[in-house]
Assembly symmetry: C2
Homo-oligomer: 675 residues x 2
């Protein structure tokens, strides 16, 4: 995508990346020690980062985008703003005002149509409050954490990597600092993403980093869990968290959902809802927040067959893919059809590929610029250990490439974890191609004796016996014939003797086998996508830089249509009223601006909040049958339309069933006197 | 609404209520001590409760409604179910499955259309996490609590009123208990709602109530705050709660919203979002839960003018009102138009009346039976001290009359509280009918001297001086002329001398005055409304009691249409595919059931989940042009329709632009062979 001139500048950087990509492949092939590979990966990432930073820096900028101007507009017209600001505000919490709220609602509505309705997904709505054991099983209690350092005296907390980054950048920018230190710190910055607690501690010690405001010493990095803690009920001993993702609610309902789907695989469940992450020190506006709306899909599929019937519908869909292989080779992302990507094994399977293509379509549909959208594959060491393949939809913004949607093949990890934690089978039945005869070994307890001996524990013993593997039963058989068998149930131990049970062997014919489904998970961060859409929609009028506006897609625009009388003359009121009724009949959100400003100023005000169409009532409107002009905000072109056709026209334009060019061919162009 | 026979039985109970209603009015008029009035109110409520219980008991039951059967259906078809049940479940938390989730989404969508779009409300979306000072100002930290008693030995917790109710009911049901005790306890039950902690403690002591499972003694009632606590950020000292209502998010954004509305009153803001209440021991399914979706409106209006332009549109709308006066007189609720109610002063103002009527329309529109819907006015002592008038929309369910929507005139309480807590003006400007000249007294600080003397505190002093009232300034003037003036700012005191400031007097002409708007708040509990809708929609087929179904309004039904091939013959597949495409073109949610069961059994299965229309493809469908039958689930009637007209017909029926009777007149009736 880059020009030859840019490509020439990037070439040495690409070679530098490839050198380490090759080295890592070589080390892996030789079975080199993990520590050597890990070291090489850190260097690879450092080189990749340098390449990417240079790429972004050299790319032609979108016509002088000015983030401060956009932020000013968003704040001033209350798209969103910091929560509780009259109380001093809370970092990482944002309230959406009327415009942001409607934009978000429209994006969610479109998501529901595009995914849930189109694919017949089972949408669920689970609680945010989640008991501790659920998140223990999912791994979040133990592993969902960031490294934090504290000021040893006043206890102020810092995210360790942020502190290092800020301190390093300050020194690098300092003219008096010596070059050797600067170069060492530049190296640190490039590698920082891959650092663990020990690496960070080393950097802090080596460069004598201190608490920024006080100059006090810092504690070593400690893990800070990012979940918000709470308790359910009055006793204080029912620990719970606010969910960090909506996915777990789907997994714990797997049995009900499978049953709802009449026991059949594959099926997909979806959830739109809040997620909460107690970030240590959130920055970057909507990109990193503490409470956010997510849309997640969990597609359950036979691990042995991840083909997808509707894949043929997207096979020829082109998208920009940045494979792990390309990343290791220092290559640029490449455009190819998703069909080709799956065929070549670049994308693991059809189901994952289908969702990647559908995700791409959704993002473009709500207003992401496809030229600033790519799908980046996780490198082996970036993926969760259980994931089989993972592609992030990344959108280029003024903050760099931002991960907005994750598409992961999570294999059977989650269901297995919850199944273990609850002793519940979370499986689907798969019909065997032909019936099979299997040997069955089971323990038949003598409940009368067990009950007498162990009272209320007898039930627990029965359950534990029923769950024993064939191997365990054989071991039990050996031990019990020569004395007693010690059965452990949770933390208790029970001594069983041969009179209490019998081991029964039999054969049976089975027609189905039980499988734990694999899960393909597309996970959308709506706030991040919304921010990217706002950046990509932000425009300045040619020749008038102060006049900024949002060219939002009509489909998601908060208000579809403005209604502007050309003058305050009361004669126009009945026509205004008729326009409103016509728009209401088609359920079109609109806003009347009958304030004093000139028509041009009022247009500017409506353009600014992304209203795609404007209806103006002028004195020509009075000639029967009544007509009005319809203005297309992005192009500022206008057409003249009969009032009786207004609703159906604006409805077609707003839902994007019709585009503006078509409308222009259908109605006479109106040349405005001033704009 | 009751028959003369029933009314005869109720008459003495009505007289008993009125006796106390009259007594209370009399006491108030005489200015009797509060304690006497309070006592009389408890007795009034006890008598009211007896009257209402008898009324409900005598009312003709909806054709043998069986809650267990409904609950079985809702659980089996996963409308909703207890959250985390594979982990043992959590009381008061529910997950919505595909059917419940879609029903809820449709109800919310309808709410948004009916209120937000129709009235041009400013919808916002604020965070659930709320810092402590916000909820301190709103009064929730201090007063949002229930009384709780604890087992003194094992610490088990009980909601005090629930414990008393259960213990009392057990004794009343006990054949061996003596009649005097039973009668005393019946009296307790009737009065329980009005009890404070001392009253409950007296009952527990008098009747020797113990911890139910252990028989241990109980602690005296202690206040348990119902908000879920958490902390924001890593230090642990930024206390926060999950919001107990969405309203506060609107109040703290008042300034931004007023500005968005170009400074004009009245305007309404709305919010759809989660609320959280840490109930001590929730029961009653969706009626009392710990996490729930609310829809709230805050309508800001000039306290001196609560008229409402669109009130004329609802003036003749009839609704059942149960005024405070009727309640005190032991009268039944009466049906009247909202216009009449406002005119007679029964409902306080047009704005409140308008929202009550619109609330009534919404509830009926989503499926609440209007015969089981009333608006009950709060008695004086039920209202929050700041509320001016309050009417609850109550829906009759098998749990009795349930409050589902509150409509309150909260006056300027909330804005005043947040304004005080933050030193921020939360006011609107109101144009004076004619300009007015006012005297202005202000303190002009000498910042140079203040800065030198007080350093960084100078700014705080400046702010405090600017906020002084006329009275305070005069006092300052007197003191400072004879020495020093001690200025208190928060917890600090500063000694000011006359060289540091000047008192300036002037006059100015003002054209506007600042007013703190009143707030009218309709607040909807969507889960409760949904439960009521499900109860009111539950039906049994005549002559086949086992065949239950949900006659949901098409507008809110989770799935609009089922698609059933009459046989598994593959010849029908192309027609099925064409039906799906036709329905998709109109964005109609549908479900194909091509499973093995008979057509009658499949109809029953789709009726059960409230699918209002069914499309059957039979062998007659093959005759060109293709036709299908459309079945109306509630009546089981069928018509035959050209495939090309199917989408527009089902769309019209689903959105209720057309009713079934009209459809029957437009298309030939089809007599099914079996059903």
């Amino acid at each position: 995508m880059a020009t030859p001139e840019i490509e020439a500048q990037l070439a040495p950087l690409r070679i530098a990346v490839k050198e380490y990509g090759d080295l890592i492949r070589d080390l892996k092939e030789k079975g080199a020690p993990k520590i050597d590979i890990d070291k090489a990966v850190i260097e690879l990432k450092a080189r990749k980062k340098k390449l990417e930073d240079t790429e972004v820096a050299l790319a032609p900028k979108e016509a002088s985008f000015d983030r401060l101007k956009l932020e000013d507009l968003l704040k001033r017209r209350f798209f969103y703003d910091q929560s509780f600001s009259i109380y001093g505000g809370v970092t990482g919490l944002y309230d959406f005002g009327p415009m942001g709220c409607a934009l978000k609602a429209n994006m969610l509505q479109e998501w529901r149509k595009h995914f849930v309705l189109e694919e017949g997904m089972l949408e669920v709505d689970c609680t945010s409050l989640t008991p501790e054991p659920v998140l223990k099983a999912s791994g979040h209690v133990d592993r969902f954490a960031d490294w934090m350092v504290k000021d040893v005296k006043n206890g102020e907390c810092f995210r360790a990597d942020h502190l290092i980054k800020n301190a390093a950048e300050k020194i690098i920018a300092d003219k008096k600092a010596d070059e050797a230190t600067k170069s060492a710190l530049q190296d640190v910055l490039a590698r920082l993403e891959g650092f663990d607690d020990k690496d960070m501690q080393d950097v802090i010690t080596k460069f004598c980093f201190k608490s920024p405001a006080t100059g006090n010493d810092l504690t070593p990095p400690i893990a800070f869990n990012l979940m918000f803690p709470s308790q359910i009920g009055p006793t204080g001993d029912f620990k719970a968290f606010l969910r960090p993702e909506t996915a777990q609610g789907i997994f714990v309902n797997f049995k009900r959902l499978l049953e709802f789907n009449q026991g059949k695989l594959p099926f997909a469940a979806a959830q739109i809802g809040l997620g909460f992450r107690n970030e240590i020190s959130p920055r970057q506006g909507l990109i990193r927040v503490r409470e956010f709306t997510m849309c997640e899909i969990e597609h359950f599929v036979d691990p042995a067959d991840k083909s997808f019937a509707k894949f043929k519908k997207v096979r020829t869909y082109p998208m920009v893919l940045f494979s792990a292989c390309n990343q290791m080779d220092g290559q640029a992302a490449v455009s190819m059809t998703i069909g080709e990507a799956v065929e070549k094994g670049i994308v693991a399977n059809e189901t994952l590929g289908y969702y990647m293509a559908r995700t791409h379509m959704y993002l473009v549909r709500v207003g992401v610029d496809p030229r600033r959208l790519r799908f980046r594959q996780h490198l082996g060491n970036e993926m969760a250990h259980y994931a089989q393949d993972c592609w992030d939809a990344e959108i280029l913004t003024s903050y760099g490439w931002i991960e907005c949607v994750g598409n992961a093949d999570r294999s059977c990890y989650d269901l297995t974890q919850h199944s273990k934690a609850t002793n519940t089978k979370l499986v689907a039945e798969k019909k065997l191609s032909e019936p099979r005869t299997v040997n069955v070994v089971e323990v038949v307890p003598n409940m009368a004796i067990l009950g007498k001996e162990f009272k209320k524990d007898a039930k627990r013993i029965q359950i534990a016996l029923a769950q024993m593997s064939e191997e365990c039963i054989e071991s039990l058989e050996r031990q019990i014939n020569t004395g007693a068998f010690k059965l452990k149930v949770d933390n208790d131990e029970f001594s069983l003797t041969s009179n209490m049970l019998a081991v029964k062997r039999s054969t049976k014919t089975v027609h189905v086998e039980e499988i734990i489904p694999s899960v393909i998970e597309p996970s959308f961060g709506i706030g991040r996508i919304m921010y990217a859409v706002l950046e990509h929609s932000f425009r300045q009028r040619e020749g008038d830089e102060q006049r900024t506006f949002l060219a939002l897609r009509p489909l998601v625009a908060p208000i579809k249509c403005s209604v502007l009388p050309i003058s305050a003359n009361e004669r126009l009121n009945p026509i205004i009223e008729a326009v409103r009724e016509e728009l209401n009949r088609y359920e079109l959100s609109h806003r009347v601006d009958d304030s004093a400003g000139s028509i041009g100023r009022r247009y500017a005000r409506t353009d600014e909040i992304g209203i795609p169409f404007g209806v103006t009532v002028d004195f020509e409107s009075e000639i029967e049958p009544w007509t009005v002009t319809v203005r297309h905000a992005e192009s500022m072109e206008q057409i003249r339309v009969d009032l009786s056709e207004l609703g159906s026209l604006v409805s077609a334009l707003s839902s994007e069933r019709m585009d503006w060019d078509t409308a222009k061919r259908m109605y006479p162009i109106f040349e405005a006197k001033s704009d």
